[in-house]
């Protein structure tokens, strides 16, 4: 049937719809490219102004009033330790909270309140967390303006985000795994511990890493609680302290600075040449953030494949 042959050809309405569909592809692609190119532009701009300052010295020097001598060393230590503290203090609590919500909580109004509260906390401005950290950790618990106080403050700040991400991850573990374990005579916790958590971990990690990327760039809250800008030592326990709990603890109680504060300090500086330092700092920070994101993406893709 030749007529049938003809009719299967795209004609009239279908041809138009197909055309619209194909054109739309480029619109959507355009939007995507826009986002990516903004990032590219930001990167370009930053690298353009900061690349000249990037060197090993930049990474290993202490701050200085001479732009070319100033470095990120203590800030990098500070950021590293702060993030470790943040991760180790927020993740267990966040996961615990998520587990409680998804696995143990009685389905009542309290739970609704907890959930809404978490969503709300995720939107509380960081400066309020700063004030809270100052009031609670620095003052009330007398932690002083230490790594611990800073880490805990950031932990409070990212717990809500992490909980929400973890909840999502736990919810995506098929209920059949949990039921399977319970039906074998496992207790609720055994089921969670052996079957739910291991499968939620990738999701939890992705969420956590994204939350951490936020914490890494946080400035205002840390300035509020007295994160320093000039420091002439490496904050946090150093290698030798790992053997000695007392020293380790003392290390955690040291004052600190972090990369964003350092960047902020440089941008505030009246001297032009410090702008390049700021850009170089941003490059370092962004490289770290990118690496984290990459890690998250790798974990997620692996997860998706299964």
């Amino acid at each position: 049937m030749a007529s049938e042959q003809l009719r299967l050809r795209a004609g009239g309405a279908v041809a138009r719809r197909q055309l619209v569909s194909r054109v739309s592809r480029y619109l959507f692609l355009g939007a995507t490219v826009l986002g990516v190119s903004i990032l590219g532009f930001l990167a370009y701009d930053t690298i353009d102004s900061g690349a000249s300052r990037l060197s090993l010295d930049f990474l290993t020097n202490y701050p200085s009033r001479f732009a070319e001598k100033a470095g990120l060393r203590p800030a990098m230590y500070g950021t590293l330790w702060l993030m470790l503290i943040t991760v180790f203090s927020s993740i267990p609590i966040a996961i615990g909270t998520a587990i409680w919500i998804e696995e143990f909580a009685p389905r009542n109004r309290l739970l609704t309140i907890v959930k809404i509260n978490l969503a709300n906390l995720a939107g509380v401005p960081s400066i309020i967390y700063g004030i809270l950290g100052l009031t609670i950790f620095v003052r009330f618990y007398g932690m002083d303006r230490s790594l611990l106080a800073g880490g805990f403050t950031l932990a409070l700040m990212i717990i809500p985000m992490t909980v929400i991400a973890s909840q999502e991850a736990i919810r995506q573990v098929p209920p059949s795994l949990r039921d399977g374990a319970l039906a074998l005579g496992a207790t609720r916790w055994q089921a969670v511990r052996h079957n739910v958590l291991p499968n939620a971990i990738p999701g939890i990690m992705t969420g956590t890493i994204l939350a951490i990327s936020r914490a890494v760039g946080e400035t205002a809250a840390l300035i509020m609680i007295g994160g320093a800008a000039f420091i002439h030592f490496d904050p946090g326990p150093n290698l030798a302290d790992f053997a000695d709990p007392g020293g380790f603890w003392a290390g955690l109680n040291e004052s600190f600075t972090v990369i964003p504060i350092q960047i902020y300090a440089w941008t505030l500086d009246s001297r032009r040449e410090f702008q390049a330092n700021a850009s170089a700092g941003i490059i370092v920070l962004m490289t770290g953030v990118m690496a984290l994101n990459l890690l998250a993406a790798l974990i997620r893709e692996r997860f998706r494949r299964n």
Partner: protein, 289 residues
């Protein structure tokens, strides 16, 4: 851990004073590596608050401590606040570089421009000026610079007057520079240090304090002929100097004042005149060994 051998000095406060103190701390480290000096900058107010709470040893301030703050200190049993002036910040009034009429303004004209209900157009300031709206840029309203300007210009002319609020305020001098440089009708003021560096793109206005137009410069500020310069301070406690002779704070302050003249200028502020500096040194004299 190698901390605390020589002691630790926690400093917070003004972001204006921060570069000076940080520079001092940097050099101090070279001579006293066993003492840790940490400098933060949560602002004069924030710094004094934690200082009065006993959480820092020293506080940078770009304005004198207020009575409220002294009261707060007293509440925490801190009755021995010691004020030391470390330098001057000359305040620069600036306009857009294309502005060719406002070369010199009197205190009164500045007052007229920045007071509440003041001039809306340049022509209202001086008939010879064009009839264009004025756009204002000034530092964050609770910064020391702002306070100083209010004291030195607004209240000076009319105690009842207020600084107007319909301009753009920013904590960040960078931001102000961008603002003034980007706006043909602009006028604004901020710290001299910043102007020195970023100011090429802006035009500084001479100020007439009654003794003729004086352009802002190190020299005019140092010799006192430039009318708009404000003192910068550090605050500490007498007790932290008195405790024992070898204490780090004393060493630090001594070093600070010994090197102030060079370092203050180096980071872009105006050093104290010699006599003023001696007055400050005299304040710690009693504690020196």
């Amino acid at each position: 851990d190698d901390s605390g051998k020589g002691g630790e000095i926690d400093i917070d406060g003004s972001s204006t004073v921060y570069p000076i103190t940080a520079a001092v701390a940097e050099d101090f480290h070279a001579v006293a590596g066993d003492v840790r000096v940490n400098v933060a900058f949560s602002g004069t107010g924030g710094g004094l608050e934690v200082f009065c709470a006993g959480e820092t040893h020293l506080s940078n301030a770009s304005r004198p401590i207020e009575q409220d703050e002294l009261d707060a200190c007293a509440e925490n049993g801190i009755n021995d606040v010691l004020e030391i002036q470390v330098g001057l910040d000359a305040l620069t009034v600036m306009v857009h570089p294309d502005n060719d009429f406002a070369d010199c303004l009197t205190i009164e004209q500045l007052h007229e421009i920045f007071r509440t209900g003041g001039a809306a157009n340049w022509s209202a300031v001086d008939a010879s000026f064009p009839d264009q709206p004025i756009a204002l840029y000034y530092p964050g309203t609770d910064s020391g610079t702002f306070d100083y300007f209010v004291e030195a210009i607004i209240k000076d002319v009319d105690e009842a007057a207020n600084h107007r609020g319909d301009g753009t305020a920013s904590e960040d001098d960078n931001v102000l520079a961008v603002g003034i440089g980007g706006d043909g009708d602009s006028i604004g003021y901020f710290g001299f240090a910043y102007f020195q560096d970023a100011g090429q793109s802006l035009k500084a206005v001479s100020v007439d304090g009654g003794e003729g137009c004086v352009a802002p410069s190190f020299d005019s500020a140092l010799d006192g002929s430039y009318p708009l310069s404000r003192p910068l301070f550090i605050y500490t406690r007498e007790s932290s100097l008195a405790e024992h002779p070898e204490n780090p704070m004393l060493r630090f302050l001594e070093f600070y004042l010994d090197n102030a003249t060079a370092l203050v200028a180096e980071v872009g502020y105006v050093s104290l005149p010699a006599d003023t500096l001696q007055e400050q040194q005299a304040r710690i004299e009693p504690y020196l060994p």
